[in-house]
């Protein structure tokens, strides 16, 4: 079991967790992810690592409510534990001095883009940040992104904060005005596809981080296979970052909706009585702690 040392909402439905996992904290690099299993009957879900702290041995993940598992996780508090966390998985972001980089975060994807933006800046890139969200309430990591970028553009769909419009509007505008050498885009699949479409004809190297359905995360199951050009790749061991211009986004979207029915059913059941489920999980977790303590004493 892995202790949650800090848990706080960054925005409605978006929560930051610092989880005690010293081995992972020590090894983790920007762009890598963990797989979390909240409880014994739960599924394994991949979550990108936003940050780590080697002093207190924690990794930071930022989780947005989506299905049952993320909602359950987001109900957990400091002092609770998750049953399993494994990582760091995947290849780290490829960092080098490209020149001018545009780092784009869409919604909770910003949490994933942010550590790579920091590394890009450290490598001497001129880093331009664009962060998009549906509205002002859901806007996250603004201070952090501002601090690490040379220019920063907040965008909202409804204009309630920053400029009204999509991140691609801003990207196209920037690319018209100046030379851009590299683009990193992390967010919802339609956003990443739109970014790829903007930069494809301009010939700007563009990388996206993919989030296909995954089970083990070590290359064993092949469930996370994605079409990259004419090759099949496993996002867990060959990615999660890929050349945006080669990604078959349609297949990714189709594969990600494979289990929609079961997911919706589980979610509906969970939402009918979320606190009961949370209590069951906490109860089991405390039982396990007691059992571990007894074993340790013997």
């Amino acid at each position: 079991m892995y202790l949650i040392k800090e848990a706080r909402f960054l925005a409605p439905d978006i929560k930051l967790f610092r989880i005690e996992a010293p081995r992972i904290a020590r090894k983790r690099k920007a762009g890598q992810f963990v797989i979390v299993r909240v409880h014994d009957e739960g599924e394994r879900i991949p979550l990108t690592i936003a940050d780590s702290n080697t002093d207190d041995g924690t990794v930071t993940i930022i989780v947005q409510n989506a299905g049952k598992t993320t909602r359950l996780l987001n109900m957990m508090e400091e002092g609770d534990s998750v049953l399993d966390i494994v990582g760091p998985l995947g290849d780290p972001s490829h960092i080098e001095n490209f020149g001018t980089c545009v780092v784009i975060g869409g919604g909770v994807g910003t949490a994933i883009a942010y550590p790579t933006a920091v590394e890009m800046k450290t490598q001497g890139n001129h880093v331009i940040g664009i962060v998009g969200s549906r509205n002002k309430e859901l806007f996250i990591l603004e201070d952090e992104m501002r601090a690490t970028t040379d220019a920063f553009y907040p965008m909202t769909d409804d204009g309630s904060y920053g400029e009204k419009g999509f991140v691609t509007n801003k990207l196209a505008e920037i690319c018209e005005k100046q030379k851009v050498d590299f683009v990193l885009a992390i967010g919802p699949i339609p956003m990443m596809r739109a970014v790829a479409n903007v930069t494809r004809d301009l010939g700007i190297k563009t990388v996206v981080s993919l989030n296909p359905i995954m089970v083990d995360g070590t290359g064993m199951c092949g469930g996370c296979r994605v079409q990259i050009g004419d090759e099949t790749k496993f996002a867990c061991v060959d990615g999660p970052e890929f050349d945006a211009h080669l990604v078959d986004f349609d297949t990714l979207i189709a594969r990600n909706s494979l289990y929609k029915e079961k997911e919706q059913k589980d979610l509906a059941e969970f939402q009918a009585n979320p606190l009961v489920v949370l209590e069951q999980v906490r109860h089991q977790c405390r039982l396990d702690q007691v059992e571990e303590a007894i074993k340790a004493r013997n």
Binding site: R23, I24, K27, R37, E41, G42, E43, R44, K68, T69, L83, D84, I85, V86, G87, P88, L89, V215, D216, G217, T218, G219, M220, C221, G222, G223, R225, Q227, T232, V237, D248, D250, T251, A254, R255, S257, L258, Y259, E261, K262, E263, D266
Partner: protein
């Protein structure tokens, strides 16, 4: 039980394994084989001729002292028999269920020349189950602590077997596992109806009671490297037993469609994540109820997959295999079980492509018929496509069970570890020592896909060499 004279013993016919009725079991995940009752087990033990030079022992990859075990069973000392087994085999309840005994101990039994071999597997299983069910575990005696630290990478059969022997020899053993459960292929691969997970759990508990430590959620190569284990965490010796985990696909059009799985993924969802119980567990699997499901392949993994699909409610469950039934690598028993349960075999057939609907889900398989040509490198006759034999069939789920390759995570982060051109780890045949001092490797990551017991044999072989390596070092 009194021993009969040899002539009388040879009159006894081999016991048959009681099993769940095929119609019932095809729709549930409960164990198929039910195990021999006490009297039947002793009855079977009576058939053993107690050879002076028991061939069965030599044919066992872990060298179990089968003749002594059989004698103890005849004497009614079942816990003694368990203890005797455990001297050589840490997973008797597992091997008693999944070993291909017909090719090993039973294949070498002298009775087999004239009649049916002694059902050694059934006896082994009986002893292990008796031990577990009565709660009297016959753990082997441990030698005094050597103070040497041993890391085992992977908790599948090779890793567990090596861990057991190293613990018996007094070493401080830690097993690292990438997944959240201990057991490797025993928990993610082999289905509940052939190997109940509680049995694996019980064996792991026994190993914990031998002082072996287990750490789950550690992906060696990612979470920590071999070098870090040896320098920073003070391990004196390492055994790599990561298995052959990388699934192979057919590389034909349409494999990205929803409903197309690797056998690894399908079985992992069903077994490890318990997707067969969707009311209780969250990890989803494609709803097979009323669907047409085909498994491509002819090995044990293919049989496990197709029988799982049937139990998940498939309307039609097919095996599609490009060679003939005689060439199938699966155990005959598994093929028979599958057929009895209603699995349909399409042999000398190979998929050419998969076609889907507008949502990206599999709907149709495009197949072609094959015929057998000249023998290939494996000695089996090579299947060649028959011109103009293409046909289509409706299909909702396709499970690809055509083998696995080497997972590169450990090799790619351990620079001084030599590998073959296919990525398997090179290890000395006798000692299983790798090119890196203090590091040994065995099981599927060295040999390519094999069986549980072969992997366990490798674990033992490595343990012997590792023990020698550690005792040759200066004492702590």
């Amino acid at each position: 039980m009194d021993r009969l004279p040899p002539k009388e013993r040879m009159k006894i016919s081999r016991s048959s394994m009681p099993e769940q009725d095929a119609k019932d079991r095809a729709r549930n995940f409960l164990e198929v084989n039910l195990g021999l009752p006490v009297l039947a087990a002793q009855h079977e033990a009576q058939r053993c001729l107690d050879c002076a030079d028991p061939k069965c022992v030599g044919a066992c990859p872990v060298g179990m002292q089968i003749n002594d075990v059989v004698t103890l069973v005849l004497d009614g000392d079942f816990i003694g028999a368990a203890k005797k087994i455990r001297e050589d085999n840490v997973l008797p309840a597992v091997t008693g269920r999944v070993c291909p005994q017909e090719n090993q101990c039973e294949g070498a039994c002298v009775l087999g020349k004239k009649m049916d071999a002694v059902a050694i597997g059934y006896i082994e299983r009986f002893v292990a189950d008796y031990e577990r069910e009565t709660g009297n575990v016959g753990l082997p005696d441990l030698k005094p602590s050597t103070g040497k630290k041993v890391a085992i990478i992977g908790s599948g059969p090779a890793g567990l077997s090596c861990a057991g022997d190293m613990a018996i020899n007094g070493h401080d053993v830690t097993v690292f596992e990438a997944l959240h459960e201990i057991g490797g292929v025993l928990v993610y691969g082999i289905p509940e109806f052939r190997l109940p997970k509680d049995i694996v759990k019980n064996e792991v508990e026994n190993m914990k009671n031998m002082g072996i430590k287990f750490e789950t959620n550690v992906v060696v190569g990612k979470t920590i490297t071999i070098d870090e284990l040896m320098t920073e965490e003070g391990f004196d010796c390492v055994f790599i037993a990561t298995g052959a985990g990388l699934p192979k696909f057919l590389k034909i059009p349409g494999e990205h469609l929803g409903g197309v799985y690797s056998a690894n993924e399908f079985l992992t969802r069903v077994n490890l994540m318990k997707a067969y119980d969707p009311e209780k567990y969250d990890q989803p699997i494609y709803d097979c109820r009323g669907k047409n499901v085909a498994v491509v392949g002819g090995g044990n993994t293919a049989m496990d997959s197709v029988r799982s699909a049937l139990r998940l409610g498939a309307k039609n469950a097919y095996i599609i295999y490009r060679r003939g039934e005689d060439e199938m690598p699966a155990r005959k028993e598994e093929v028979h079980h599958a057929k009895d349960e209603g699995v349909q075999f399409m042999t000398l057939v190979n998929p050419v492509s998969f076609l889907g609907d507008e949502k990206g889900n599999l709907k149709v398989a495009h197949l072609q018929r094959m015929e057998l040509g000249e023998p290939d490198a494996s000695g089996r006759r090579r299947p060649v496509p028959k011109e103009g034999s293409d046909f289509e069939m409706p299909l909702d789920v396709a499970i690809i069970a055509v083998g696995t390759g080497a997972n590169p995570l450990v090799q790619s982060t351990t620079p001084d570890l030599d590998t073959t051109d296919r990525g398997y780890i090179l290890a000395d045949e006798e000692t299983l020592a790798t090119s890196k001092p203090g590091v040994f490797a065995g099981g599927d990551i060295v040999s390519g896909s094999a069986t549980v017991i072969r992997a366990m044999g490798a674990g033992r072989k490595a343990a012997k060499a590792m023990h020698e390596y550690l005792t040759a070092q200066a004492p702590v």
